[in-house]
């Protein structure tokens, strides 16, 4: 390993990573165990719980419900978030920072409160979407768009606008200059942002709590409802599919944008 890192620091960091990753590893093991539940030492591997998951109506339908919801969320969050990021990167107006903070705020404000507020709003206005996929969709867009703004904003911060201005001065229409010059330059940032939006929606629990019903139940809610009463290894098997999906998405993001640089840009761009 790197020689300039003191050994005590390294040991503490390894322990920290173990703490952070152990539960995820345990879920994978629990989903692949041969026994009725996970014991120590493990009883050997089998695919029986994966098979049980694939045959279970409850988890499979929630899995696809979450997937559909995440795709719907991703589309709207990407469009709204990209447009807003473009504006934020191009405006010099006072209050730009405040507007950015406002758009990013749902990520850190209590999801239960926002979910409750939307739930009450849907009922009070008689919109009739309080416990349907449409209500969930709106809540998830609120929580996913900030990630698109952050990621596309980072891509825009490293993009030289004079390229687009050059295209304009050579006679390209604004739309054409945008489509042919700017868009290709930030498209990977947009793709990465949309992947983030997808994962955030797929794993969203807090906002969904008030907005879901047994007929429209995302996977995290379905898993929560069963976990309250008993440990089902088939829930862990469902978890394995979710873990695979998230890991694949993060790896794909890393192919699109350099994650290291994305996180650094975030710091520079504020």
């Amino acid at each position: 390993m790197e020689r300039h890192i003191p050994l005590p620091m390294l040991i503490l960091a390894v322990l920290g990573f173990a703490f952070m990753l152990m539960p995820i590893l345990v879920v994978v093991m629990a989903g692949l165990t041969a026994g009725e539940f996970l014991t120590f030492p493990p009883q050997g591997l089998s695919l029986r719980w994966v098979a049980a998951f694939l045959q279970s109506d409850k988890y499979l339908s929630s899995f696809f419900f979450s997937f559909r919801l995440a795709v719907m969320t991703m589309i709207v969050a990407t469009i709204l978030g990209t447009a807003a990021a473009l504006f934020l990167s191009r405006t010099g107006m006072i209050g730009r920072g405040a507007m950015r903070a406002f758009f990013l705020s749902p990520v850190v404000l209590p999801g239960v409160v926002i979910g409750f507020a939307l739930f009450a709003f849907f009922i009070a206005t008689d919109m009739g979407i309080s416990r349907t996929i449409w209500g969930l969709w709106i809540g998830h867009i609120l929580y996913s768009t900030p990630y698109v703004i952050g990621t596309v904003g980072a891509a825009l911060a490293s993009y030289d606008t004079s390229l687009e201005e050059a295209a304009r001065s050579l006679g390209a229409s604004p739309w054409r200059a945008f489509r042919k010059v700017t868009l290709p330059n930030i498209s990977q940032g947009i793709q990465a942002g949309s992947i983030f939006a997808f994962i955030v929606s797929f794993g969203q629990f807090e906002v969904s709590l008030f907005l879901s019903s047994p007929n429209s139940e995302p996977l995290p809610i379905a898993m929560y409802n069963s976990l309250r009463y008993q440990f089902e290894p088939s829930a862990a098997a469902a978890g394995i599919f979710a873990i695979t999906l998230v890991t694949a998405s993060v790896l794909l993001t890393n192919r699109l944008v350099n994650i290291r640089r994305l996180l650094e840009r975030q710091q520079a761009g504020g």
């Binding site: 960091a13 952070m20 629990a30 239960v112 739930f119 687009e164 440990f231 890393n254």
Partner: protein, 305 residues
């Protein structure tokens, strides 16, 4: 992308999407502003308004009847005051523990020069952060439960007996461990940015002037990470007091914090007005922490949040 096409008027010669003087670039942000106003500002405002209405079971929409009775009830019942206190204490404890666990991890990530290794570590952090909390808590419960892996191990070693397992969850400890698990990636990403921004020559100078490695770290690197430590802790505090899922699963509803009370009032009691009151108090606590976080200089720290 059609959205952008539709909202970008083309023919103005001096204007356009890319040029600073365009007065039409506003149109890009209008859809999101409208969305946020309708589905964020108004609903939250509605909750604020409802919290000042007299309690009426089943009544959702706000009325013109203004009263402070819900707030008086909240602040005069020890039950709810203790829940608020518990939430705050929990947030502070979790922020401290998360900081202690995250700092060495962030330090190692920040100081790892090998690009591939560095990216791998960041991917691990990001994947853990993005993974659904329910799944991570399932793992925590399998490890920490009464029949969990740790208790099985202790039993196997003959350190405990079958009928007296070590209580690692369904109590305050379990909730803290769960929340640290939840908040760790946010803290790491905040700290990595700050630690990486510290000029290594400062520590080298201290070393050259005769400071031991440990002394150089405690006198130079650690104090210079203070902005990250402060903003990371505030962020973790805000995230911790807001969490419903962690106290619900790791505390088994025995650790009654504010989010749990909101859900009970509304979903189980249909008491919208009092639920809204608790929601407003939680919202203000969390927003207050975030406001300080933004002032402390989120600009100098990283993280997707």
């Amino acid at each position: 992308m059609t959205e952008i096409a539709a909202t970008t008027p083309a023919p103005v010669k001096s204007g356009g999407l890319g040029l600073r003087q365009s007065q039409f670039k506003w149109l890009l942000v209008v859809p999101l502003i409208v969305f946020f106003c309708i589905f964020f500002v108004i609903p939250v405002g509605l909750i604020f308004a409802t919290s000042f209405n007299p309690s009426a079971i089943g009544q959702v929409a706000p009325t013109a009847d203004i009263t402070l009775e819900n707030y008086i009830r909240f602040f005069s019942r020890s039950n709810y005051l203790m829940a608020a206190g518990r939430s705050v204490v929990l947030g502070v404890v979790v922020a401290l523990v998360t900081l202690i666990v995250a700092y060495p991890m962030a330090f190692v990530i920040a100081k790892t020069r090998h690009p591939g290794r560095n990216t791998t570590l960041l991917i691990l952090v990001l994947a853990a952060m993005q993974l659904d909390m329910v799944i991570r808590l399932y793992g925590m419960m399998v490890i920490l439960g009464d029949n969990g892996l740790i208790n099985q191990m202790l039993l196997g070693l003959g350190l405990t007996s079958e009928d007296a397992p070590v209580q690692l969850m369904y109590n305050f400890l379990g909730v803290v461990l769960g929340l640290v698990q939840f908040a760790l990636p946010f803290m790491i990403l905040t700290l990595v940015g700050v630690i990486r921004g510290i000029d290594p020559s400062l520590e080298e100078a201290a070393r050259a002037l005769g400071a031991s490695r440990r002394r150089a770290f405690f006198r130079v690197t650690l104090p210079m990470s203070m902005p990250g430590i402060l903003s990371g802790s505030l962020l973790v505090f805000a995230l911790s007091i807001s969490s419903y899922i962690v106290p619900a699963l790791m505390g088994g509803f025995r650790v009654g914090v504010l989010p749990i009370h909101i859900f009970q009032q509304v979903a189980e009691g249909a008491r919208f007005q009092f639920g809204a009151t608790i929601a407003v108090i939680l919202f203000l606590l969390s927003a207050g922490a975030i406001a300080i976080y933004l002032r402390v200089g989120a600009r100098r720290s990283g993280g997707l949040a």
